[in-house]
């Protein structure tokens, strides 16, 4: 409960929930509508006979049920099923219609009759009885509830409660604390705490020296060491307790230097190239008098850690990249044109609106800057220091993008997660402020992490086989920012995490045992949110991993040969049929038979071209090695809107039975078949023929977890693609985006759109 802190008097008036309402209900079934509560979750207020709006035009498909505000979420429980809902991707922590309070962007109450509308904040009064509640969510959803049949007073109370509870006054009022506290006390233990996290490969959290040791070893950074000078956060409040520094710098030096850096942030090692160059991030030096001297010392130390004593280059991110305010403004504009503006009206100017939002421009700027850093590390074999005022925002994006481009390890699922842990969570990205969980200071809010995910998506879109995970994974990861129970996204830095969880435990008298503090689960423990089956949607069927997931366990030896063959015939090579070309061929097979005229410029570099351009040009003219360096294609025509993320709730934009998922579906079936065959081979190798009966082969469920979400168990093509596949999959716009309908659409608009003309028959057969 929230009783830790003295409650402000205003909300006593609507606490506790009015039980009288329930007894009055005429329909007994309504009584059974109960919110599903998590440990530590309590109902604050609720109201019956609420209608959740599904369609903007008519109320035909609306759902009836109960609207509940808890200390964790807005919950709508109903007996009705969504119309034509054929597929559901369920979150274990949330019901189908639930919105976590942390995901609420804005609460708007409306009274139709009086023509009134009010944006509700915390502790505000509402002078009218709302007939409608519209909740704008941070994940782009817009949900609408109508109170026409509900008790006006209780409706009002629920609205006020939602507005109030979605703006907690203190970090410890975020639901995660109650939740983790309760789970800690629970006898089952639920492996939230301690080392016994869920099975399977674990994501290193980089809160221990051994995680850093392993990373040093993995990257061959022999001239770098883990230092524990910040143990107990005694030097810098925002740095982690353990991080990596040049061997040549002693703890004593570090302590001495720390005073000159903004927030005592000593330079941090991020990553080492196998050529010896290192990626380092650092904050600005506060004292101008010390600047040159200190710069020199740091550079010397970094050089000394380079086996070939390579150059050290500095990249000032504040000067070369958009600020966090710019990013936030772009995001707000993009959200507006994606989900707020009426669909048809915004069609005509869609491209220029996209451009003026500047989101893609910023995505491109970050990718471009990162690619240039890659050039310095790889092409010039120089170490690079990323410098930013506080070293907690832009450098997170750039350092992680650079590592994704250079190191295939970070394109695997575990690698990617460790990267976020290393460059974001431990480096002290202010998730709490940037997410604005406490809604205290809008100026601090900025979707930098989403921007980063978008950049990753662009790379993934250009090189789909290079990533082990899918865009669904990226989307779900971004959504998890709004489920305030994960250590990953709740805090500004490691110290805040440690101190608040210790204080909370103390104030609640939670026995901590051997632990120093309560441990929040990292988001990487995906089983908290999704079943193993649903987690399979994270796995890309295309991934060409190290050895490949398809040759797991090295069971299929001869593969290596085949594989080599294949990677050498990867794309970019000429059509095989025409033979002859052999090594001489440099023409991509794209151009047609007689029109092989796309010139190759690889050997025609003029002096006008900068070395980095030449580096990119050379790289682009070769077929990419998906397990090697990966560079983004930066022509503006190559950067795309991340449709799954930005348009998934927009019903008009949903391609039913289409979208990239249909290709993914087919690929998954094939990947699954391969997996099944490999399992059989292993069984043969293991001696016993696969459980004697032939039927057991592809069909029967295997004890092992299968990687693919779509399984090749049905051998025949269905007459049409599965209904639930759409460009929004696995999400559904149904009931998740309810703009108020726009009346009196002019005829011109009618003519320039498409969906609205579809006859009712078609509309009925679609999931709208």
């Amino acid at each position: 409960m929230f009783s830790v802190k003295p409650l402000k008097p205003t909300f006593k008036s609507y606490l506790p929930p009015l039980q009288t309402e329930l007894t009055k209900t005429p329909q007994p079934t309504i009584n059974k509508l109960e919110a599903k509560l998590l440990p530590g979750e309590i109902v604050v207020n609720e109201v019956n006979f609420v209608r959740k709006c599904i369609g903007a035009e008519s109320s035909r498909d609306d759902l009836w049920g109960k609207l509940i505000c808890t200390n964790f979420k807005i919950s709508f429980v109903t007996h009705d099923a969504l119309p034509q809902q054929k597929f559901q991707y369920a979150n274990r922590l949330l019901g189908e219609h639930d919105v976590p309070l942390a995901c609420v962007e804005q609460v708007v109450t409306v009274n139709d009759a009086k023509g009134k509308q009010k944006v509700l904040g915390s502790n505000q009064k509402l002078k009218f009885n709302p007939t409608e509640l519209i909740v704008y969510c941070k994940d782009f959803r817009i949900v609408r509830f109508r109170f026409d049949e509900a008790g006006p007073e209780s409706a009002k109370k629920v609205c006020l409660a939602i507005a109030h509870y979605s703006q907690p006054a203190d970090l410890q009022l975020l639901f995660g604390f109650e939740y983790v506290g309760k789970r800690h006390c629970a006898p089952s233990g639920d492996q939230v705490n301690g080392a016994d996290r869920a099975g399977g490969p674990q994501t290193p959290l980089f809160d221990r020296t051994c995680d850093w040791d392993r990373e040093i070893k993995r990257t061959g950074a022999s001239e770098w060491r883990v230092c524990s000078v910040n143990e107990g956060f005694s030097v810098s409040p925002s740095l982690p307790e353990y991080f990596v520094v040049p061997v040549s710098l002693a703890d004593q030096d570090l302590k001495q230097y720390s005073g000159f850096f903004t927030a005592q942030r000593i330079p941090l090692w991020c990553w080492n190239h196998h050529n010896g160059s290192a990626l380092v991030r650092m904050a600005s030096i506060r004292d101008p008098a010390q600047q040159r001297k200190l710069d020199q010392r740091i550079c010397n130390a970094v050089t000394r850690s380079h086996p070939k004593r390579g150059d050290v280059l500095k990249s000032d991110l504040d000067k070369s990249l958009p600020s966090i305010q710019d990013v936030q403004a772009a995001f707000v504009r993009l959200r507006h044109i994606c989900v707020i503006e009426p669909f048809e009206e915004s069609e005509e100017k869609w491209l220029s609106s996209m451009e003026s939002s500047r989101w893609l421009e910023y995505v491109r700027a970050f990718l471009k800057h990162s690619a240039e850093v890659v050039y310095m590390l790889e092409g010039k074999q120089a170490s690079v220091i990323l410098q930013e005022e506080e070293d907690r925002d832009l450098s997170c994006v750039v350092s992680s993008l650079v590592q994704i481009m250079l190191d295939p390890h970070f394109r695997s699922l575990q690698g990617f997660q460790s990267l976020v842990q290393k460059e974001w969570v431990m480096a002290g990205h202010r998730f709490l402020d940037r997410c604005n969980h406490l809604k205290r200071n809008d100026k601090e809010e900025a979707p930098l992490f989403l921007l980063f995910l978008d950049c990753v998506w662009q790379l993934m879109n250009q090189y789909p086989a290079a990533f082990e995970f899918t865009e669904t994974y990226l989307t779900v990861l971004s959504d998890s920012m709004w489920v305030p129970v994960f250590s990953t996204f709740l805090f500004n830095c490691a110290r805040q995490h440690t101190e608040h969880s210790r204080d909370f435990a103390r104030s609640k008298n939670i026995p901590l045992g051997r632990d120093k503090a309560l441990r929040f689960p990292p988001v990487w423990d995906w089983s908290q949110q999704f079943t193993l089956k649903d987690q399979a949607l994270f796995n890309s069927p295309l991934y060409v991993g190290k050895g490949g997931p398809c040759v797991q366990n090295g069971a299929v030896k001869s593969f290596k040969r085949t594989k080599k063959n294949y990677s050498s015939t990867l794309r970019g090579m000429p059509s095989l049929r025409n033979g002859l070309l052999g090594e001489h061929d440099y023409f991509p097979r794209r151009s047609s038979l007689v029109l092989r005229l796309r010139p190759d410029f690889s050997q025609l570099r003029e002096a006008a071209e900068s070395p980095s351009e030449r580096f990119f040009g050379d790289w682009l003219s070769r077929p990419p090695d998906l397990q090697g360096l990966l560079l983004p294609q930066l022509l503006p025509s190559h950067l795309k809107l991340w449709r799954l993320y930005f348009l998934r709730w927009v019903p008009e934009a949903q391609i039913s039975r289409g979208g990239p998922i249909t290709a993914f579906h087919k690929l998954s079936l094939l990947a699954d078949e391969i997996e099944t065959l490999q399992r059989q081979l292993r069984q043969y190798k293991g001696g016993a023929p696969p459980s004697s009966a032939p039927a057991s082969a592809p069909g029967t469920p295997q004890p092992e977890q299968r990687r693919m979400y779509f399984k090749a168990d049905t051998p025949r093509d269905p007459p049409s693609p599965p209904d639930y596949l759409s460009s929004s999959f696995p999400f559904s716009p149904v009931g998740n985006l309810c703009r108020r309908s726009i009346l009196g659409t002019p005829l011109s608009k009618f003519l320039s759109g498409a969906k609205i003309w579809l006859s009712t028959e078609t509309l009925a057969s679609e999931t709208l």
């Binding site: 006008a608 934009a653 290709a663 007459p719």
Partner: protein, 642 residues
Amino acid sequence: MEKSGSTDSGECKPFSSRQPSVDSIASTSTCPSDRSSHLKPPVTHSSDALSTSTEVSLELQVGTSITTLGNCHKLAQEEPQLIPKESIQDIAKEVTYICPFSGAIRGTLSVTNYRLFFKCTDRDTAFALDLPLGVINRIEKIGGVSGRSEVSYGLVCKDMRNLRFAHKVQEGSFKKSIFEVLMKFAFPLSYGMEIFAFQYGQIFPESGWKVYDALSEYKRQGLPNESWRITKMNEHYELCDTYPATLVVPVTIPDEELKRVAAFRAKGRIPVLSWIHPESQATVTRCSQPMVGVNGKRSKDDEKYLQAIMDANAQSHKLFIFDARPSVNAAANKMKGGGYESEDAYQNAELVFLDIHNIHVMRESLRKLKEVVYPNIEESRWLSNLESTHWLEHIKLILAGALRIADKVESGRTSVVVHCSDGWDRTAQLTSLSMLMLDAHYRTLRGFQELVEKEWLSFGHRFQLRVGHGDRNHSDADRSPVFLQFIDCVWQMTRQFPSAFEFNEYFLITILDHLYSCLFGTFLGNSEQQRVKEELPERTVSLWSYINSQLEEFTNPLYVNYSNHVLFPVVSMRHLELWVGYYVRWNPRMRPQEPIHQRYKELLAKRAELQNRVEELQREVANRSGPSSEKAGSPTVAPVQT
């Protein structure tokens, strides 16, 4: 298997009698689930070839000659490798190609009767330009840059690029400039010569001219039936000289009346059936505008005719007439004797204008687009520049029109009549795109060829005029990228439904490249009548002959044969994209993208290998455990090949 189709492909793999190679597996669009029964054309191709040994050797010949044709350059060569009947007309050394991306490049320029070939001679750079003369739209002499001794020529191409060359002219030399030679062979028609397609005599295993047969296509649709008949009225192109010989008309209208209807429709292009819904019997019919004129002329025969079209579909008591034009344009056509159907005259018909602009607007839009994408893209204003070309907006209107037609037919079970002014540009776009949405057959490789043959070629889209083959008159107002727009729309659909089409992007680009190349006879001429008269099928090679000789190249491995899948694309700027792989392909910063397909083929190969190994082991186990358990050893996993 280790070869996995990379090196052995030169020997014509589908025809080898060995085990099916990896590539042939890929080519036949295997997917784990379509192996059961739906074997479609591409497979029969390879099985035919296996039948006799003579055929095999024939194939081999073809295979090698394709090779020479396709990969016409070894880098070391300064001259192109020639294709049959191609001969070098002129060679000039010391020519400079002024590349917009990397500056001046010096080399040797050769002109043949088919192509332009430029090979860099500087140092050891490997740069070559090789383009069919057919893509050249215009050659202009640009004033000498450095004094009189150097002349410069600009080549404006139909495929979204411009090339610029410069070379020295010897003073007092009587030798013609190579560009004058180029001019002659780039625009042979203007110089009283023949288009190269008439010389090129490559023989392919099957004739693409036989891809489409009107009668069997109508038979596939279940025609004739009780409501629709096939008429031979136009056998000699007397009823309408721009229509095909075979037409499908309502049973209730006798041939005599057709003539009277023809008199009322522009260019005699009467409403005829393009497609019939297999279940509802709703039809897509196409025609030209009615000759209403300023006085609002009526034709009882035409009205009766449209009524007959409506009556042929028992499911609906309504008929939709889709006029592709903006209503203003349709009204303006009355001044020229044309116009549109008034709802007074045509009872039960509803007229809808689709707002698609005319050929001139489209030509202008493409011109602007070229400015925006070639040579360089302005980084900061890319999207607004793209918007200002209106290209995607036009694409959207065309797709939206087709979608409305498909929706009326599929969901509304209503028959539709589609026309524009003459019924050979926008009408062709609309009917073919709606048929592509409605009928999965047209989404196969061969089905698409039939669609193009039927809705575009046989119904008289004026390719000769719209493209201007071999004609120097580049400013001809009849030129317009109507067919390019259609292919663009198809590409947009393949983006939204990546597994619904049997063909890939490369197929679409190949069609467009040969729309201009003048290598094949397919897109020559303006009508079926002209093609027959000029004996194109006898005297030229069909593009489909070439394409069908290596279908695997053009196959989308992600294709799933969903037979009843009607596609309703989302026609919104949110999903429409500029076709970068076509329009921006000359930019060296652009990397062709088809990684998914490539990866899919690798996975297919991997599966094939695993299957072999599993089967091997199964056999081993079966042998070991004796005959009693033989059955257990039968392949139970996914069959190897479909």
